[in-house]
Symmetry: C2
Subunit: 132 residues, 2 copies
Amino acid sequence: MIVSTRGRYALRMMTGLAECDRTSLRELAAAQNVPFKYAESIMSSLVKAGFVESARGKKGGYRLTRAPAEYTLAEVLRETETSLAATDCTGRKEQACPRAATCPTLPVWRALDETVNDFLSRYTLLDLMPKE
Amino acid sequence: MIVSTRGRYALRMMTGLAECDRTSLRELAAAQNVPFKYAESIMSSLVKAGFVESARGKKGGYRLTRAPAEYTLAEVLRETETSLAATDCTGRKEQACPRAATCPTLPVWRALDETVNDFLSRYTLLDLMPKE
DNA sequence: ATAATTCCTATCGAAAAGATAGGAATTTAT
DNA sequence: ATAAATTCCTATCTTTTCGATAGGAATTAT
């Protein structure tokens, strides 16, 4: 699995935000069918990454900081998925593998990583907006 | 994660087999550093898929049924990974999603699936054999 | 003050992944 | 025949990851 539920929720929430100027998480989560408390945790990643701006207190809520076309799927998923790496070999534990220096397979995984990243960089939030 | 430990073990075991005419699982697992019992379960998938031929009893063992260049990574991983699908949306539970008909994101996931599959179809076991 | 919100930390429960256990069936060698 | 080495089969265990929830502190408009 490259993109998990968490990442898909994140994208849905962001397209939801793109459709209104500002909204509370309660409304957004309901509209996008994302469990409220889970949405909270995801939104916290989006804010920390600077994708979304928050306003606290009554009448508070969230709003995008850029135009939808300015977010690639790659950057959003990089912040919300645990890892986008094709394998453990190219992920966090990369350095832990003693075979790395001579492993004939490692270059293939690196190329796969790049292929996936390139793919996800060619799409933006705008491509995920419902038409008409 | 696209390729898990199980899939990588499968590929290692097959390249190991490619290096000798026939070998027992005990030897193979030891040589490739794959836990013996785990290797058994993986090998059972490989045999069932017809990638490998088994001989039972004393002096038994396993052997590839084709030349290394005749196995693509895609087909090996398709048999050993739980799923190669980019998301749940394009995996087994595909039909379970009520949004599918109008989901603007689904085509993207399908295209990603195809991209990954194309990539993995361009490499064969031969590409994973240690050089020199 | 009160109500509605974001923010923070902790935890739970289910599912998947990695790995192991034990023994039945088969075959070769002696 | 018997023993040894193997594949085959089913079941289980453990650890990690993932999805989701709980409770309450901090903030702000009214």
